[in-house]
Symmetry: C2
């Protein structure tokens, strides 16, 4: 059964994954040089490189030319950009719809906020509060404001101390970043929208701190779906935002 995945790059990938699982390799460790890995596994260097490319876009390694301790392929674990890239590409290939991305963000964020509200005494919301203060700064461009906005929501996910959720939120957000910016540019009165968003953020944070689960959930729901509805992101098909405009 199941010939051993004759493809050479898969051999390399499996080998490295098993080394990770066995603990032989861990964060900060160096992978063997490409040439060594190739001869060691009996494959060509190009096959090794294809596997390393996969590891790189998965956010598992960082490569550096040159010599010395910082060179070579080093194990890291930065899944955020990988998830973002994956989702962005899936959106591009029509595997994911923007509306589903938005709905998923709504789902996740609502659940996070509910969770935070339910144990509001044991969480640290200082980062979130700081970001809200930063968003009060006048003359923020929509781009800057939305970046802070994203960080605020990310800080909530991080407050729930769940790296997976935080990563997913980041990935979801970045996968539709382009569409979000497009939508902001099309708003009739950005300042008014920004003021409303600020107020909603405060409301959400206060509800969390107060431990008012239902209020936090409700306000989050309204906040997110309201914004996306305002920017028509939930109804527009992603193709239409480019040429038929």
């Amino acid at each position: 059964m199941a010939e051993p995945e004759t493809r050479a790059w898969k051999i390399v990938l499996d080998s490295i994954e098993s080394r990770l699982l066995s603990g032989e390799l861990g964060p900060g460790d160096h992978l063997p040089p490409e040439r060594a890995l190739a001869s060691e596994l009996g494959v060509g260097r190009s096959s090794v490189r294809e596997a390393l490319r996969v590891l790189e876009v998965f956010g598992l390694i960082r490569t550096q030319t040159g010599s010395g301790p910082q060179s070579g392929a080093i194990i890291i674990a930065s899944p955020s950009s990988a998830i973002g890239a994956l989702m962005r590409m899936q959106v591009a290939a029509r595997g994911f719809q923007v509306a589903d991305i938005v709905r998923t963000r709504l789902l996740l964020e609502t659940a996070v906020v509910r969770d935070l509200a339910e144990r509001s005494d044991a969480i640290d919301l200082a980062d979130a509060a700081k970001l809200l203060d930063a968003m009060e700064a006048p003359q923020l461009t929509p781009e800057e404001f939305l970046a802070l906005d994203a960080q605020f929501h990310l800080s909530l996910a991080e407050a729930s101390e769940n790296q997976v959720v935080a990563t997913m939120m980041t990935g979801l957000r970045s996968s539709i970043e382009g569409y979000v910016l497009e939508g902001a540019a099309g708003l009739p009165d950005w300042d008014a929208t920004a003021d409303r968003l600020r107020a909603e953020h405060r409301t959400i944070l206060m509800a969390i701190i107060a431990g008012d689960r239902d209020a936090a959930t409700l306000h989050t729901n309204n906040h997110i779906s309201g914004y996306y509805a305002e920017t028509h992101l939930t109804t527009a098909h992603h193709n239409e935002s480019h040429d038929h405009g």
Copy 2:
């Protein structure tokens, strides 16, 4: 600013992504042959191949040797295995903790079930019901049972008609599949556990159909966290499940 990402494979990746976004390429279409792509973009074939490898593990293309309409690289959009592989590797590299994966699954599934219960009149749960019947079959191995179990939960996500959530659920599940199977093997009385899981599934499904949001949420919560607690998956570190047993 921002040198154009001198790396050749990135050029190829960006080129293909922009073709997807512009609509020049879509699901079912063929990518140009590797050699043509290489000369067209002014890069070597190996660089093209590195980019195609990324697209392949992202679930965006399927490659096939030979000639004819089925050969070459064809655009698909199957994100499930990609997300699963990505998360599995992140777990292996200690970027994600198994406990966080479990908690995220709990979060997502609870939200899905709550959503389904709130609009129980407009959803189709036939698939889920069928799977529950299939799980009644006697003499299912733990592996078979858990596969049906996963499909049941997946069918709930699919009933919510959100491809992104369904994909995430699949990815989350597959990323810890190995640990789940390990945990099942360590149960003292598998038949009793299976019976309990069956009953809980029925309870959840009925609560959804009845539109009882709170009951559906509660039962889902208990169902999932109960199982993972029973298999010690929420507390065990993934390293410890291999050698120190």
